[in-house]
């Protein structure tokens, strides 16, 4: 049985691609990789395009090996991966919308990000004029006696991001849910082309506002891999501190938010206060509540002083004091458990097939956590547990967050205790030849992947992949058989990104 390394040897290895290998392969090797994904031996990490090339990132979860295979698309077409491995489907549709490359054999050729509103087709490839008239979007059919459809969005009742949901229901029970996304598409990957590193880092930090640290970190690490930059120790540790503060704030917000969607507002009120404490501490320490534009290629722009450290410690102490009572409240309120236990079940097999990241995967038996599996610094020298449950229901996703809050408190303690002294950043070199880099970091909702090519100090091509690409289809699966009224609750427990997905 060939390993990922053997697969690389089948193709032509690309020079200056770090830290994992990339090889240009032929269609037979491409198809072989797709069939191995389908067998479940490897996991799909991403699939993205260039004007006449498609790339696919693959991981062997047993060994944490990662590789990228690339296929030149003669006649603007390539063999579909999704015909073997469904998780690739929407990625292929996005590649088509942006580059015009056709996945031959795909079962679904509907557009995905392109709603025929841009005035142009294939904006990142060979642009052509838009269709004169938008063709209607056909949702997948569900047929049977007494079924009816409910259309929701893109503007929702709450303050949330835009997306359209088409429910097909039998009475109150959902028999099929199909979302249509792309409403938040801002053309970020096009804006990144020819952008300076600073400008591109600014854009990366705005792919998804709730993961601004994770994206800035993934982007910066990819640039640093490409340019072989050794980031100073203090910056590495400060970055981890930023990432853990971001995780802490959003987990607290989500725990309260899920309970609120189960009409239990008391938890929401208390969790919101703790979350606000974290944001204020972040502001005191780093000058921005969401810690935006702090991480740049080469290091960080802000140092942590004594006052900042004390603000963070005070917030942590308060959480330690108050959070246990909230856990107890969650655990011992039957009316709340009645809503969350057994609701929105995601089966472990499906979570594994889609290589679901974050609490979504870890609540359904998938142990992957980029901080542990890929052990990027400083996590290789930090002690923490990766909580895992197998139930896959809303309750399990809440408990994973609760346990991760505890682990993050522990991680921040270690970081503050061991934070090394030294410079905050280092200048990245400028090379005239193309250099490629890749990075995967653990954001609060899962693994954020960035792949890019730098030349002359500018970004030539950058692809950013949100964990939501592999989580949105799982929401559809998990909602089946639940009632419509439980959709907000189930959806919130996944908390998939719209902007991060739409880009």
């Amino acid at each position: 049985m060939p390993s990922l390394i053997d697969l690389m040897l089948e193709g032509q290895l690309v020079q200056r691609h770090s830290p994992w290998p990339r090889a240009v392969v032929d269609a037979s090797v491409w198809n072989f990789a797709a069939s191995e994904l389908a067998r479940g031996r490897w996991s799909l990490l991403g699939l993205w395009g260039e004007p006449s090339t498609v790339h696919m990132a693959i991981m062997d979860e047993q060994t944490s090996e990662i590789a990228v295979v690339s296929l030149d698309c003669f006649d603007r077409a390539y063999p579909s991966v999704s015909q073997h491995h469904p998780p690739a489907l929407r990625l292929e549709r996005a590649v088509h919308d942006l580059f015009g490359l056709v996945a031959e054999g795909s079962s679904d050729t509907r557009s995905w990000l392109d709603h025929n509103r841009w005035g142009v087709r294939f904006p990142l490839g060979d642009r052509i004029d838009a269709l004169p008239q938008a063709s209607p979007y056909f949702f997948l059919p569900a047929e049977g006696d007494g079924l009816h459809q409910i259309a929701v969005g893109p503007v929702h009742a709450g303050t949330i991001e835009p997306g359209h949901f088409r429910f097909t229901t039998s009475g109150e029970t959902v028999v099929r849910l199909e979302p249509r996304l792309g409403y938040a598409h801002k053309g970020i990957e096009r804006l990144m082309m020819d952008a300076s590193l600073v400008r591109a880092a600014q854009l990366a930090g705005r792919v998804s506002g709730d993961s601004t640290v994770a994206y800035a970190l993934a982007f910066s690490r990819a640039v640093e891999a490409a340019l072989e930059v050794m980031v100073p120790d203090r910056a590495v540790w400060l970055r981890a501190l930023l990432a853990e503060l971001e995780r802490l704030a959003h987990h607290l917000g989500d725990i309260g938010g899920i309970c609120n969607d189960a009409s239990f507002a008391l938890m929401h009120a208390h969790c919101s206060v703790l979350r606000e404490d974290v944001l204020r501490a972040s502001n005191a320490a780093f000058g921005h509540r969401l810690m935006r534009d702090i991480i740049l290629p080469g290091g960080v722009t802000r140092d942590l002083d004594k006052d900042g450290t004390e603000a963070i410690q005070a917030a942590l102490d308060n959480i330690r004091l108050r959070f246990p009572a909230l856990i107890e409240l969650y655990d011992n309120t039957a009316s709340l458990q009645d809503r969350t236990v057994d609701a929105g079940v995601l089966k472990p097999a499906l979570a594994a097939q889609y290589a679901a990241g974050g609490y979504t995967g870890r609540a359904s038996g998938r142990s992957f956590d980029a901080r542990r599996a890929l052990a990027y610094p400083p996590y290789e020298s930090l002690r923490f547990d990766v909580p895992i449950l197998a139930e896959g229901d809303v309750n399990a996703r809440v408990w994973i967050r609760i346990r991760e809050v505890e682990q993050t408190l522990y991680l921040i303690d270690q970081i503050l205790t061991r934070l090394p002294e030294g410079p905050l950043s280092i200048q990245a070199g400028v090379y005239c030849e193309p250099r490629e880099g890749m990075a995967i970091v653990e954001g609060f909702r899962g693994d954020v992947m960035v792949w890019l090519r730098v030349r002359d100090g500018k970004i030539e091509r950058c692809h950013l992949r949100d964990p939501s690409w592999f989580q949105w289809p799982l929401v559809e699966a998990a909602i089946e058989g639940n009632i419509v009224a439980d959709f907000p609750l189930c959806n919130r427990s996944f908390n998939c990104a719209y902007s991060g997905h739409d880009l």
Binding site: R117, V155, K186, L191, T212, H270, V273, E276, R292, N332
Partner: protein, 177 residues
């Protein structure tokens, strides 16, 4: 829960003092708010929020407005589920082309008199996304904007100042009847 509820009977509220209205925002508003505002609205304001393609950073801070520290409802300001209940449309994001029509329809569904608040740097002119093939630009390209609250994202305090300014203007412009 029993204990938490009991404690909260005796604990002082965490809510902080209201900020003073922002001068710049007041000026921006001067022409926007009509005399009828006070009569029609009293001191209450219902807001329908629309994300027209933001990165969700602004939404996070808009959510924070409702937490116990800011408690926006004590000013008579509340977020409502439908544009048909709203006095104010609060819009974030650089307005993506894919969201343009939805924003227009939502605006049309808000009854008169109505105001539009554009929240965040993107909502002013597209921010760092300006010039993209997929982005319209600022909110004012699509619907008329009465007040802009800058920031990336604006802090909850900055949003409160803007909202209070809107109310103060509505008050000042009113004629006693």
């Amino acid at each position: 829960m029993r204990k938490l509820l009991f404690e909260s009977l005796f604990r002082r509220p965490v809510t902080e003092r209201a900020p003073s209205p922002d001068d710049a925002a007041v000026t921006e508003l001067a022409t926007a708010v009509a005399q009828a505002a006070r009569r029609r609205l009293g001191r209450s304001l219902s807001i329908r929020e629309v994300d027209a393609g933001s990165c969700n950073g602004c939404e996070l801070e808009i959510h924070a407005l409702s937490n116990a520290y800011y408690d926006v409802e004590r000013f008579g300001i509340r977020f409502v589920a439908s544009p048909r209940y709203a006095d104010v449309l609060m819009v974030t994001g650089p307005v993506t082309k894919n969201m343009r029509e939805a924003l227009e329809l939502t605006y049309d569904a808000v009854p008169n008199p109505k105001w539009v608040i554009a929240v965040g740097d993107c909502a002013r002119d597209g921010g760092c996304f300006a010039g993209s093939y997929a982005v319209v630009g600022g909110v004012s390209e699509v619907v008329p904007v009465d007040l802009h609250i800058p920031g990336c994202p604006p802090t909850p305090t900055a949003m409160l100042k803007g909202l209070l300014a809107l109310l103060e203007r509505a008050d000042a412009g009113a004629t006693p009847t």
